[in-house]
Subunit: 324 residues, 2 copies
DNA sequence: GGTAATCATAGATAATAATCTATGATTACT
DNA sequence: AGTAATCATAGATTATTATCTATGATTACC
């Protein structure tokens, strides 16, 4: 079957359906000799007759019947593929593979939920891991999109900011600095700090912030996760700089407070994107569009109460978390 | 997918396998630009990218992965068909549809057995029915081959004789003419005859035989099957002209004897064939060849003991059936 | 920065597939 | 026998596909 063509099979199907060369020709808007020749060619390729003529009547041979099955399978397979492609183009089908750094797990599900509702046919896969691994996955082209808090410096990537990611100083609610306003940075330097591991975006940003101001932190402890840091802070082991998002879901908790420190919150962003070379799929583009419009709402909702952000009332409410 | 070609799919499969245009080109003995263009065309036809390049590395897109599945299905389906065709050509697969008149049921299974042993992959279908229906099936092109005792006169058929079909006169073993030799036809005319229905081959041949000799039969009864006729003969209701094959399997029975009648047995044949227009399949041709060689043996075996046929000893053995 | 490797594009050619008109051959029907 | 219907064949043309050479663009590596 090396040289059979899909056209020949289509003509054969028509003849097999009509059991007439002439009617097949009409159906396909061809002349009868065209049909005759196409069938002759196909029969020569197969090496056995596909049709037999008994008087004026046309019958399928056994071989012809088998070929008809194969031909139908092919037609149906291609038709299904076409439908799938159409759905993919219309964002009615397809896959979205996201890899996000750990901290993003606090808000990404809030975005994925509505996205999946809007595009119910999309298959979403979410990988949550540390920054280093996310970058490796990017290099290995394992996902469609990546969410990071800190753009990598030595990689050709295409990232856009889509959400504010303020870094705040947190302390135990009964910390001496808990209700002070505009705490000078120098006062803060006397406090022991709890840090994430080297390489984490938050740590990088923190070190840069203090480094630019000639300040050196007293690092009491490095901890491997935001949860551990929060527990240590609540236990009075020190203070920490964290993404405000790590606290967003625990707004009703009363163990941690933000410190109103001069220069804080550090205004940073969440970035989403991919390697520069990569061409985003239709689904990935749809998600990017969705992010652009939805993250505004999300930001307003979740960043409320954080000093410097919308919804933070300076006058009659000191600190929502501390007010509870 | 109206305009995609099997060639394009083949090239795509190679690229997908190798994840490299250059290696695919080598594998297919083409130049790299050929491969590049083929993939570009296919991608344009589909309307979505099938491959993505990240740096020097080539990856399949989701769409590409789906197309690869479809392409494999197509390749596999065609490959299976090719194998089947090869088997059909080699008589290793295929179908044989036979329609035979009722009397042929006495010997056809003896031929089909060895044929099926020689060609175990052939699917055989045997239809046993009266002559009229066999002819109608032939007109309707329902089978591959037909077995008849009497060629139809007003149909364009291609039939060949393959086996002797002697018509003999049978009587009850205690019939007055049982042990007579060379019975004159005139004596036979005094006997009542039992006949098959009008239209049956045996009846036609019998009527022609006697007609040509100016004799008129006394038909006592018409019966619808050979079995009924044999029972009636054994019960003394009359004599009958029957194909020797109807008795072949009952050689050891002692109820019926052949009568040694002048002019008998009527030498006739079994015919096998089809409508003149019909092109016999590879399997049908194989069966015809098989019949040509096997029917000789069958004839020697089954016609032994019948006057006028090999193995009939005139001197010291009067009549094998009557000697029991 | 230079080189090698790899894919993309431009332009051209060759090969193949698809199709048509005209006519022949055969069957079915009156 | 004549006519209509239907498939096959011959010959020619058109359209499309497949492929190549040459070159450009980009990435990866040293």
């Amino acid at each position: 079957m090396k040289h059979a063509t899909l056209r020949q099979l289509k003509v054969f199907e028509s003849v097999a359906r009509n059991l007439s060369f002439t009617r097949a020709a009409e159906e396909l808007h061809l002349t009868q000799p065209t049909v005759s020749i196409q069938l002759r060619q196909l029969s020569d390729i197969v090496g056995l007759p596909l049709l037999e003529q008994v008087g004026k009547r046309v019958f399928l041979t056994d071989t012809g019947r088998e070929l008809l099955k194969v031909s139908h399978d092919i037609s149906e397979g291609l038709a299904r593929f076409e439908m799938l492609v159409s759905d993919m183009k219309g964002v009615k089908a397809g896959k979205l593979r996201l890899a996000v750094i750990t901290t993003a797990k606090y808000f990404i599900p809030r975005l994925l939920g509505p996205f999946c509702q809007r595009y119910p046919g999309i298959d979403v896969s979410l990988k949550v891991t540390n920054r280093e691994r996310v970058l490796q996955r990017m290099i290995d082209n394992e996902d469609d999109l990546y969410v990071l808090g800190q753009p990598p410096e030595h990689m050709d990537v295409e990232l856009e900011p889509f959400l504010e990611n303020p870094l705040v100083v947190v302390a135990a609610h009964d910390h001496p600095l808990a209700n002070r306003k505009n705490i000078p940075l120098s006062r803060l330097m006397e406090e022991p700090f709890l840090m994430r591991e080297a390489g984490s975006g938050t740590r990088l940003a923190t070190e840069r912030f203090f480094g630019e101001r000639g300040e050196k932190l007293k690092v009491r402890m490095e901890l491997g996760s935001n949860e551990a840091i929060k527990q240590a802070v609540a236990g009075g082991l020190g203070i920490a700089v964290l993404s405000a998002h790590t606290l967003a879901l625990e707004r009703h908790g009363d163990e941690l407070v933000y410190l109103d420190v001069e220069g804080f919150p550090i205004r940073r962003h969440w970035y989403v994107g991919h390697l520069k070379d990569k061409q985003p799929s239709v689904v990935a583009l749809a998600f990017l569009d969705f992010l652009r419009e939805e993250s505004k709402l999300l930001g307003e909702h979740y960043l409320r109460g954080i000093p410097g952000f919308p919804g933070f009332i300076q006058d009659d409410q000191s600190f929502p978390a501390a007010s509870r």
